[in-house]
Symmetry: C2
Subunit: 346 residues, 2 copies
DNA sequence: CTGAAAGCGCTTACAG
DNA sequence: CTGAAAGCGCTTACAG
């Protein structure tokens, strides 16, 4: 039955157990150099007293932090909340706490968030979400992270970031190829892409995958409009409007992520365009709700929760001489939003 | 151009500026008792050096942490990710960092997460998500939080928690009433409720609201089955199966949150039950995707992002003599998943 | 207005 | 195996 009032300190535990704080510290951290009997006694006393180590003191004294920082573009976006869920689950299992920051898809904000996390002395910094096509945007961040890693910190990222850290690489190119192959196999030839900002590597990679598949089928890139908009539901809505207006004969819209696909579906529904009868729609990611849309969304599963667990587990491993890269599986999930190309469109 | 290598410390700034660390500290924190000229110079030097305060040292020395802790049931659930988004946005604007923990809807886990956050010396602890109907489950947590608050910490919660902290109260009872009144006004009389665990106050409150509305219409509580299941999509699926099996004449299913409603819709679709033609479905919360389901989901908007901002802003205010309570708006959002009661069901 | 010094609660060489 | 002591980087009375 822990007492309330000021927190129990290590010295309280040590006194009660009749040992020095050095011995108490060693016992609690499971270091050897303490007789098992003494260590067990100290642990018992600590538990009786409800002792919890003061993280700040421990960190300042040179111990480890047990905090990991996670930078996401926006935690309200399902893609990121599923990644965060994976990170938090694994972190909890390992006794770590997760600090979450928003970068808002802005490299300047991202840099300042990195600095904040480093100042907080986190064990590890995790960055989720697309990198930027322009590598100069990240050189400052890279500098900070390298210094951090040289001094024993760990960092790992999801995606292609031009950062010299461990990285989990979602199968963005392959996902683009898979979704394009799928609609091609259904006979679609008038395809349009609802894309996020061209500044993002994720967008670039997914488009590259789509183009590769199109080329194999003899379709010139110029014949497939790529409409850039925000990488959000509203962006998807807007992209769909422009696609239907500028390319009215389109029979398949590939949205570069599920959230945009939701916006695309919304626009089509509003305009009375039947999916998949008139136009097929597909996304990428397979966020949880994709299966529950109507029509349910054909997409490519990227296992965000796993990505989250993976990126943390990489960061927790001892560093290697050079940055590690890890891929993660993907699979086409065919559902109701795609169907055979119509013979003809009005 | 900040140098890399070991971090710049206050003493580095002080030396470079030619002052003591006491003066440097005061200058940087904007305390008075320092001539403006000196203070400005120190700040300039600090900025040139890229100085960032060491949070652990500051906290240990008695300064403030600039970290707030947020406990959610599960960050992957849209209800919580939208709340978290509100918290993170406001926190960022105020220069605070957010630590997120999972309670997994388990009071024991919740308590241990509270202890972790307190040990991390957070400025404020925020708890989002339902409390437990059994108040004894929270007495330990209450004790910890009271001790924390006595020693200057701040705490605030979303929902009815039997905790003596500031609280934002989502309009759970009113939401239950509103959604029930809505289906009643459409002529439904054979209504069933797909509910989460009976141990949660949110479930209890929403059911209470529904019952109040039913009573006003002369419907006995016994005539409205409340099927308890997990407060998740899968729970909604399961509840719908049981409802259709045990109460086949049901014409309206009220899910106690949108995530469950998604599961209900999924089951109905699988079974070929037309919504809203055969059965109307409604939820509560209005998560972002609710508008994009098909049929789009009738629900009661509870403004989760606002709840998140609100709970943090309460925690940031100076404490009052007694815990503050704040309500938050709600509004019925009628969409496509509810319609007139059918004349007769097979 | 400014500085020397104690102290926050830990960890970790360094002695024994 | 165990303990006394220094030190992590700050803040804040306490003197001047």
């Amino acid at each position: 039955m822990p007492r309330s009032g000021p927190a129990t300190r290590l010295i309280d535990v040590a006194e009660r157990a009749g040992v020095s704080i050095a011995t108490a510290s060693r016992s609690l951290r499971g270091q050897d150099g303490v007789s098992e009997a003494v260590a067990a006694h100290v642990r018992q006393v600590a538990s009786d007293l409800g002792y919890v180590v003061n993280v700040h003191a421990r960190t300042l004294a040179g111990g480890s932090t047990s905090i990991v920082g996670l930078i996401v573009h926006e935690i309200g976006d399902p893609y990121f909340s599923e990644i965060a869920s994976g990170v938090v689950h694994l972190a909890t299992a390992r006794g770590l706490t997760v600090q979450i920051c928003h970068s808002g898809r802005d490299p300047v904000t991202e840099l300042s968030q990195i600095r904040t996390l480093l100042a907080h002395g986190t064990e590890a910094v995790l960055i989720a979400g697309s990198g930027y096509v322009d590598p100069t945007l990240q050189s400052e961040a890279d500098k900070e992270l390298r210094a951090f890693q040289r001094s024993g910190g760990r960092a790992a990222v999801i995606g292609r970031h031009f950062l010299r850290t461990d990285a989990v690489l979602p199968a963005n190119v392959a996902a683009g190829e898979a979704i394009a192959e799928h609609v091609l196999s259904l006979g679609h030839r008038r395809i349009a892409v609802a894309a996020g900002s061209a500044a993002l590597t994720t967008v670039e990679d997914r488009v590259a995958g789509i183009r590769a598949a199109l080329e194999r089928h003899g379709i010139a890139p110029g014949d497939v409009p790529v409409v850039h908009s925000a990488f959000t539901r509203d962006g998807g809505q807007e992209a769909a409007e422009r696609i239907l207006h500028e390319h009215p004969r389109t029979t398949a819209i590939l949205a570069l992520n599920d959230v945009m696909a939701i916006g695309v579906l919304s626009t089509l529904r509003t305009l009375g365009v039947s999916v998949p009868h008139d136009v097929s729609v597909a996304g990428i990611d397979d966020i949880a709700v994709a299966a529950d849309l109507a029509p349910s969304l054909t997409t490519v599963r990227l296992h965000m929760q796993q990505l989250g667990e993976l990126v943390l587990s990489m960061a927790l491993k001892p560093p290697s001489a050079r940055p590690r890269r890890r891929g993660c599986g993907h699979e086409l999930v065919v559902r109701g939003s795609t169907g055979p190309a119509p013979r003809r469109r009005a």
